[in-house]
Amino acid sequence: MRAALGLVLVSALALGACSSGGDSTESSEQAAAGCAPSSGPVTLTYTTWIPGIENVVKLWNDKNPNIQVKVQTGPNGNGGTYANFFNQLKAGNAPDLGHIEYDALPSFRVQDGLTNLADCAEVTAAKDQFVDWTWGQVSFGEQNAVYGIPQDTGPMGLFYRKDLFEKNNIPVPTTWEEYAAAAEKVKAAGGYITNFSQSDISQFAGLSWQAGGRWFSNDGTKWTVNLQDENTTKVANYWQDLISKKLVSAVPPWTTEWDNAYNTGQAWTWVSAVWGANSIKSGAPDTSGKWAVAPMPQWTAGGTVAGNWGGSSTAVFKGSKHPYEAAKFALWLNTSEEALTALNKEAQLYPATKAGAKLPALSEGVEFYGGQKIYDVFATASTQVSPDFVWGPTMTSTYATASDGFKGVVSGTGTLLDALKTTQTKTIADLKAQSIPVAE
């Protein structure tokens, strides 16, 4: 109680200090209060599952004796850490900062679990440092809203077996039409052009994102769900066709079988995100030097649109007593060259800042990809991701329903479009069950 009282006094003082500093309108007084520096040294808690994060945070702690950051870790978000965040928010002891992927951020926003950092001048000033579309992911298009600092992104490209394409005289596809044509030739040569991700829907989301599909929108009061818009339908029909003709394999993703298909040359391409470079490298070690990366196939010849798969933000939870310091740390973590380099080195995170794409580590040729400077492809792709893709507030269950449907399609029941239709119905029901307003 005494501590709480003290806090009120401190923030009242801070408020006074700020308003005497020249801010005259009431709203900016409130703004300053929402993001006022704490007096004295603070210790922040930060929960994330980035491998090797301690080494990155140590760089900060060594230089900022007054803002010490304590790292907590656990399984990845959907593996349990998000559930823990919600429990901690309920119990009122959430950490100051948390690692939240873009697709999960809206559920925290809807549950009112995040601190709006728009009150922090340093945060709003940093907007231009970030790749444009990432800012949309953390602000949800709301005015004066910043619910997290973009951390990493997953711009997509086409990983392909350069050697096999050359040997079989198949041109590397630049459009989806060419990709389907190549699929036939690859099948004839005894392989599969790719593995259709039946249980990880994020890839399909990335493909829809590229095609212009917009699954969710929010007008400020109500959510609209549209998993079967024109463009998503186009993508679904396209892949349905490849699946029906058995031109793609359907090994469950992220399994050893999956690795093996790539390692033994059964699967020839993978339309994946920048972090996929490491997945192939470590999953298919026997194919070193045989891979290359091209921009992802386009729907119109000569187009320059990329999709995104993955990426996350650093958010400050509601109830953090030190939003100013937390925001300061999150900005350092996601914009400073030393932190971005360390994050890339420890966990292959691909930065969300414009300058980050020029990190020395990301401008070198990669031996596994025959020395190609593959990150240049992704740096370009990163600028070609549409900024207006919005995630829904119940993505975990949306993914689960879609994944059930997709698995059925692969084993021969229904179509991808059917699965999306079911997912739509289920998602709307979920939103209503959580009293989230839905426009129909």
Binding site: G74, G79, N278
Partner: protein
């Protein structure tokens, strides 16, 4: 012929239970590249040693720390939990006091409540005391074991004769002394059974630490391996470490069973005869 059918069923069941363990042993002995492209149920080049040293070296040997945590959580909770269960069951069996049956029935109904259902309320309670993310938040809830109380009561009723207690009282032995010097000895086989049940339950309890703990250094080995496993997408190297770690993590259970098996069989048998 009559014996063949049961033998076949038993054989199939044995294989069914042993093959996963065999697979784990084989998988953990392979190098990462061989893991994907060699026979899953037979050995390739033997690199268990490399895998082990990689496992123990990864992230400053955090795996060893997890093993140690598991042993402390589990061993400590099983020892203290067995003692509590024994005292409680003994008291319910040997003393008459008002509300005895009510208490017993409440304890017994506790058997029906799954530990998973209690994890979240426990988290909220520990949050009130700001005790989440501590050793105690996992250790304290692990101490209680209603099934152990039940076993202890049944066994104490059956194997500790009232006449013996009477004799001890006449000889001037206090109740506590009687309990520790006479009754526990008589109940020993049951205590071993309770200990083993408790040990396995706590060793495998996963949800409670998942919800309570954020500090990697406090994780038990189950949670640690699980969190590595969720990162396999990002760092496929972890897959071999998870496999090798899983193999190592069953070693203490195997040791506990081998050491206590003798008493356990004895306990189950003598309980049945009575």
């Amino acid at each position: 012929m009559k014996r063949l059918a049961p033998m076949a069923v038993m054989g199939a069941a044995t294989l069914y239970f042993l093959i996963p363990i065999w697979w784990l042993l084989v998988a953990a002995s392979k190098s990462r590249s061989q893991f994907t492209n060699t026979e899953p149920l037979w050995f390739a080049d033997f690199s268990l040693g490399d895998n082990l040293s990689e496992l123990f070296a990864y992230r400053d040997g955090v795996f060893l720390r997890w093993m140690l945590n598991s042993v402390v959580y589990t061993g400590g909770a099983a020892l203290l939990g067995t003692l509590l269960a024994a005292m409680c069951g003994y008291a319910l069996a040997k003393y008459r006091f008002p509300g005895r049956e009510a208490i017993f029935n409440i304890v017994l109904s506790g058997v029906l409540v799954p530990a998973t259902a209690l994890a979240l309320p426990l988290f909220l309670i520990f949050s009130q005391f700001q005790a989440t993310n501590t050793f105690w938040s996992v250790f304290l809830p692990s101490l209680v074991n209603p099934f152990g109380v039940y076993l202890a009561r049944i066994y104490a009723t059956a194997s500790v004769p009232d006449e013996l207690l009477e004799a001890a009282r006449l000889d001037g032995s206090g109740e506590i002394r009687t309990f520790f010097t006479i009754s526990t000895k008589l109940m020993f086989p049951a205590l071993v059974t309770i200990f083993l049940f408790h040990f396995v339950a706590v060793w495998n309890n996963f949800l409670l630490p998942l919800i309570m703990l954020g500090e990697e250094k406090l994780f038990p080995v189950t949670l640690g391996l699980y969190s590595w496993n969720t990162q396999v997408n990002q760092i496929p190297e972890l897959r071999m470490l998870v496999l090798t770690g899983a193999l190592v993590s069953i070693v203490p259970l195997v040791i506990a069973f081998l050491l206590l098996q003798r008493f356990w069989r004895n306990g189950l048998g003598s309980g049945a005869i009575k």
